[in-house]
Amino acid sequence: MTVAGAEEATTGTSTKRRSRARWIAGFVLVAVAALVVVLAMRPAADSETPASPLVGRPAPEVRGTALDGRSVDLAAMRGRWVVVNFFATWGVPCRQEHPELKAYTEAHTGPQSPAVIAIAYDENDIASARSFFAQNGGSWPVVPDAGGHAAVDYGVRGLPESYVVDPAGNIAAHVTGKVTAAAIEAITGNAP
């Protein structure tokens, strides 16, 4: 073998090895990058207040007879902002938000004004809800949630929770915990 031949053979072998190493390194790099992207795009499983996937979508049906005998049908309230509020009187934040909802409804009394529908989640709490409203005021309808169907249909995770439904019937916002009149006004665009 001549020097030139040996050089060529050695160079050829090392070039082949380098090329193979580059391919493997490239494959591993792409695989790891793809895995990182996939994992990074997944939402955290235990985030404290995950955004409701229903925001921006049509609000699930709310229909029933309120505690005062009124018929309630969310679908019939198109053209108005509606706050669908899930509560139970045994929840401290639910009791704390009551004056806020009262102030909000008292500020909007026209026939096409924003409205509130309360959903009494706990069927065993109906008598308490009745006396709570008699004692603390509040003119908005309270609809009992038979079997918690409405709560599951709205993806409720805890009480209280409120869903602000826009005039087109879509959920514009989801508020977990105590809601305030100012927060609702900000969502509906009526903030001072």
């Binding site: 073998m1 001549t2 020097v3 040996a6 050089e7 053979a9 050695t10 072998t13 493997i24 494959f27 591993v28 695989a31 790891v32 793809a34 895995l35 996939v38 994992l39 795009m41 997944r42 939402p43 499983a45 235990d46 995950p50 955004a51 409701s52 996937p53 229903l54 989640y121 706990d122 079997g147 918690g148 169907h149 709560a151 599951v152 249909d153 709205y154 993806g155 409720v156 995770r157 805890g158």
Partner: protein
């Protein structure tokens, strides 16, 4: 040759088993009660952390279970009911993520990388044990040394 076949068969079995594990299965239980039980074990309790509807006595978990019973009685499929909960509670509505899309990639990708790594180690080890075929050949320095020696003798 036999060892190579054994290695290839082992890798094929490994990849096949893991791919099977990452593939969606449709082994739905038969009776409505079994279906509800199955759904309750895979759907996350809406108000608890890390437990299923079946494991929780929380009021919202009971409501979720009643909703499953109602939908099973209405003739909806397990897939439809899972979709219902995902549409309301997001992708983490299920305790075990669905075996599809990104989740399947997350299953298969590390397996692929591991298979390639095993292959590289196996091939490298075999070559090392056999001895590098290039080791017995003369390299540039050897040839040059011989040529110089021959020049001196002339």
């Amino acid at each position: 040759m036999i060892r190579r076949t054994v290695w290839l068969a082992s890798i094929a079995v490994l990849v096949g088993a893991l791919a099977f594990g990452g593939w969606p299965r449709h082994d739905a239980p038969r009776t409505p009660a079994q279906r509800v039980e199955h759904l309750a074990t895979i759907v996350r309790c809406p108000t608890c952390s890390g437990v299923s509807v079946a494991q929780s006595e929380a009021p919202l978990a009971r409501s979720a279970r009643q909703e499953m019973e109602r939908q099973v009685a209405a003739g909806r499929s397990d897939q439809d009911i899972e979709d219902y909960f995902i549409a309301r509670y997001g992708d983490d509505a299920l305790l075990t993520p669905r075996r599809g899309g990104a989740v399947r990639v997350a299953w298969v990708l590390p397996i692929g990388v591991a298979a390639v790594a095993v292959g590289v180690v196996v091939v490298g080890t075999r070559r090392w044990r056999r001895g590098d075929p290039g080791a017995g050949e003369a390299d540039v320095a050897d040839v040059r040394l011989v040529e110089e020696a021959l020049e001196v003798r002339r």
